[in-house]
Symmetry: C2
Subunit: 406 residues, 2 copies
């Protein structure tokens, strides 16, 4: 790897072609062809290798995530009517079927929208918020803008008002907090601000919510003495020296890293860029598999055995997040190390996850890169992480002076 892709105009041109072609000619067509429910509306994501439906149950997360992705492509790549229609289909399914009588959103429903599972937490609401925000701007639909704000308000209330989400572990015995609500809070606030302006929701502006969550992450979840970003800590930030408290999720951490670097880029704030870069530096070391390549799913803070026996599998989404994080860090810092890391994870991912015959990516590989299950989607995999990476990296590449066509 003498000259990493990102460091030369030729390399960047090759990347630009790769990300653009994979997004437009492979991934989005796969979901448009196989993932749209022409009967009941919305997205079907439980698809086999060839796109055939494995399970008709619908993920509420993916009605929002899919609608966000299609609306975003419509807004930023090309005004294709089928992309706007796909976004509308997800939004309309959410309007008809996502809400439980108590105002919280379900996790899964049947194909025709009857409730199946409600979960304790509120990520359905966060994804519905970004979907509605992007769709409001793409379509001019005023209800979508109001829905986006209301979903984000519900998300914030359940995530940060103590006691609203029933705890899995007794809070009397072991008060703890997770990084998830802060990470998703940052990304959600960024999208609302982008599409609807920096409005005030639940007492703070979007920018203030972002500041709040980044401050919490810096104060409580980043552990310089251990060079690690934790997933779960005590409410005072102390390390919980049990399986759960020691469990690192490098892909999740790299996602947090690029959310924070993205905020630094928007504000031209070197301090924020440095925070994100620090998380990337720490968690790349923790997560990259020196022996087989790729990003481990879980690691233990102290190098002990982790609780999850499938800890060393390679999932598609941490690799998407790692590609974005390294690419963005290179763009912001020019440090060649990030271009090298980017090439490592790009090459490993496109070599092992891609399915040249049937399109899209496999989601779940064994440590050595062999496919574990050949499906292309389920309740957790759909039109989100992979197309978001292809789109985001394409946008970064478009910023280079040699770029002519969008």
């Amino acid at each position: 790897m003498e000259t990493p892709y990102l460091t030369t105009a030729t390399g960047r041109a090759a990347l630009r072609h790769c990300y653009r072609a994979t997004l437009r000619d492979n991934v989005m067509p796969f979901w448009l062809q196989h993932g749209m429910d022409t009967e009941h509306g919305g997205f079907l994501t439980a698809l086999d290798r060839d796109g055939s439906v494995l399970d008709t149950d619908k993920s509420i997360w993916f009605q929002g995530r899919g609608a966000w992705m299609f609306a975003t492509l419509y807004l930023t790549v090309e005004r294709r009517p089928e992309w706007l229609a796909a976004a509308r289909s997800g939004i309309e399914f959410l309007r008809r079927h996502a809400l439980a009588p108590d105002g919280k959103m379900y996790f899964t429903v049947t194909r025709d929208g009857r409730p199946l599972r409600m979960r304790r937490y509120v990520f359905s609401e966060a994804f519905a918020a970004i979907a509605n925000a992007a769709y409001a701007r793409a379509s001019g639909d005023a209800r979508a803008a109001a829905d986006a704000e209301r979903c984000f308000a519900t998300y914030l209330r359940y995530s940060f008002e103590p006691g609203l989400i029933p705890p899995k572990v007794s809070t009397d015995t072991r008060p703890m907090m997770g990084i998830g609500p802060h990470m998703i809070g940052i990304a959600t606030a960024q999208e609302l601000r982008l599409h609807l302006g920096d409005r005030t929701v639940a007492g703070r502006t979007c920018t203030q919510w972002i500041d709040y969550s980044i401050a919490q992450i810096e104060q409580h979840f980043m552990k310089p003495a251990h060079q690690a970003l934790l997933e779960v800590v005590a409410t005072d930030g102390a390390i919980i020296d049990h399986f759960d408290g020691r469990q690192l999720n490098p892909g999740h951490a790299l996602e947090a890293a690029w959310f924070i670097m993205h905020e630094g880029k928007l504000r031209n704030d070197q301090r924020l860029i440095q925070v994100g870069r620090t998380i990337l530096d720490w968690m790349w070391q923790r997560g990259w598999d020196q022996e087989c390549g790729g990003i481990f799913y879980f690691r233990d803070l102290r190098g002990l055995p982790v609780q999850e026996y499938w800890h060393d599998m390679k999932f598609w989404w941490p690799h998407c997040e790692a590609i974005i994080a390294t690419h963005l860090a290179w763009t912001l810092t020019g440090d060649e190390r990030y271009a090298r890391w980017h090439q490592q994870v790009h090459d490993w991912s496109f070599h092992h996850f891609a399915d040249p015959e049937r399109g899209e990516w496999y989601g779940y590989l064994h440590r050595d890169g062999r496919v574990s299950v050949p499906l292309k989607g389920n309740m957790w995999k759909g039109p989100f992480h992979l197309p978001r990476m292809l789109w985001y990296c394409g946008r970064l590449l478009a910023e280079y002076p040699e770029t002519t066509a969008p």
Copy 2:
């Protein structure tokens, strides 16, 4: 494999030595040395390869499972005071710390017994019931007998009174039932009847509860047209053609098979033996990995990709259940096929799971038999499946006429 171990006196003598030595000189000493909490009482099960403690949180399941195992060995193998003391330690920890104010038992507590997690279902109660039943007989402690009965009554009430366990999936939309409560109900009733007599609990004798659950399994969960035992079905027994409904768990099914064959053996009931044997025949074909050996964790009823990406891992406990099921089927039927299967799974298991250097078995292997996590215990692995297999198979071998010493 000209003459499987079980078919010759020499082979049986070798097995007898193997099971006895592994139980007495390896597995039980590992737990006695590393797993007893000398400070707060009860069992610590989250142990690393060498027995060092990875997590001090305590599994309530394992206070019962461990106490049952030690009391059972005391009753049936040898009156060792340290085995009775270990059983007492688990029982006393349960008495002090297992019960929540509402009368249900926790799933996990801290080392000193403060509540951590409550789960919806009631398997803690089933394991506490068998522990108390065996301990009552081993110690003559009258409170243990009463506790066993009360725990079983709670188990039965929550398991079979509709609505007491909050459903994970909406029962209005998709009414369904699992095989788990029936399987564990059978094993729990068998232990209570063995130690405390065939008493009436929650309106039925232990034998009647066993009949009830076997009938439910035959009527609703066995699918002759598919040659499969299902884990979850609709309340009318219909196949639920979604990920969850199609997901087969061969190890779980083989455990059910031997519970039912064991009942047939006790009653000398050829019909029951045939039911268990049928499940074994079906699920061995579904579960045995022709390519790498060992028992797959999950399979799909229709051969489709399963939802769980770690579906092809090899866990210790399905192998323990497969060793018992094949051994018992050979004992009851004399069909050499079972002796061959027994040897296949015995050899694969002792070759891949055993840790000759540090004792006990690893719990979690990759498909090809390589170790995934080297720990010896956690909230789901402790002194139960492996020692129960060694003990149960030792008891079966003791029934042969050539056996002299117990």
